[in-house]
């Protein structure tokens, strides 16, 4: 998985009826966009390190500088 700052990571729900979860990438702690990522859960959520598994995918956004 490769992600950039500002991308959204979506994690599939693991049980029937469990909604997907998502978080925003704040920092890349690996080399060249590799994990782990410092992420924030929800709009004003907690920050944590994220180590993606097969349940997660990245939604890339165009970044303007």
């Amino acid at each position: 998985m490769r992600a950039s700052v500002g991308d959204r990571i979506v994690i599939h729900g693991h049980r029937i009826g469990e909604p997907n979860r998502d978080c925003e990438v704040l920092e890349m702690r690996g080399h060249d966009g590799a994990p782990p990522y410092l992420v924030r859960w929800g709009d004003n959520g907690h920050e944590a390190l994220f180590f993606p598994g097969s349940d997660a995918f990245v939604e890339h956004y165009e970044h303007t500088t």
Partner: protein
């Protein structure tokens, strides 16, 4: 199969200086039952929702305490490229429900006993498939011609 291929769920990590309240919030928002405690690149512990019950609530510990006060350490780990047989052995030997999966001394994810159970059931299912088909859709083998 390698352990890293069985990491169906993403892993979540926190710094040792985070409070128990913050870590509980991370668990809730990330939908996980355990988090790795990571100091820089180094895995230093694991905290589970069960730890929060037994070591915090049951003992009346303040939620503003640091998480490294209640984490489990040292952590039993397995290599990302180790075979599942190694993981089976560690689960059996240590009576664990979770194993930290490491690559180059860095945490990459949490392997749970549930992950292995799912794998075993899938393998049993694929083994049973031809037998099930034989029972449900029985066909007579063509008669072998008799050569006199």
């Amino acid at each position: 199969m390698r352990t890293v291929e069985m990491l169906h769920r993403s892993g979540v990590g926190v710094a040792p200086s985070r409070t128990i309240r913050e870590v509980a919030g991370v668990m809730e928002q990330a939908g996980v039952g355990s988090v790795a405690v990571v100091d820089g690149d180094r895995l230093v512990g694991i905290v589970t929702d069960r730890d929060l019950v037994r070591r915090v609530l049951a003992l009346g510990l303040q939620a503003d305490a640091r998480v490294d006060f209640v984490m489990t350490t040292p952590v039993i780990t397995v290599g990302a490229d180790d075979s599942l047989d190694v993981a089976f052995g560690l689960f059996a030997t240590h009576g664990l429900r979770r194993l930290a999966v490491m690559r180059d001394d860095r945490f990459v994810g949490m392997l749970t006993i549930d992950d292995l159970l799912v794998s075993v059931v899938e393998q049993l299912g694929s083994l049973a498939k031809p037998i099930t088909a034989e029972i449900l859709f029985a066909q007579r083998d063509p008669a072998v011609p008799v050569v006199l």
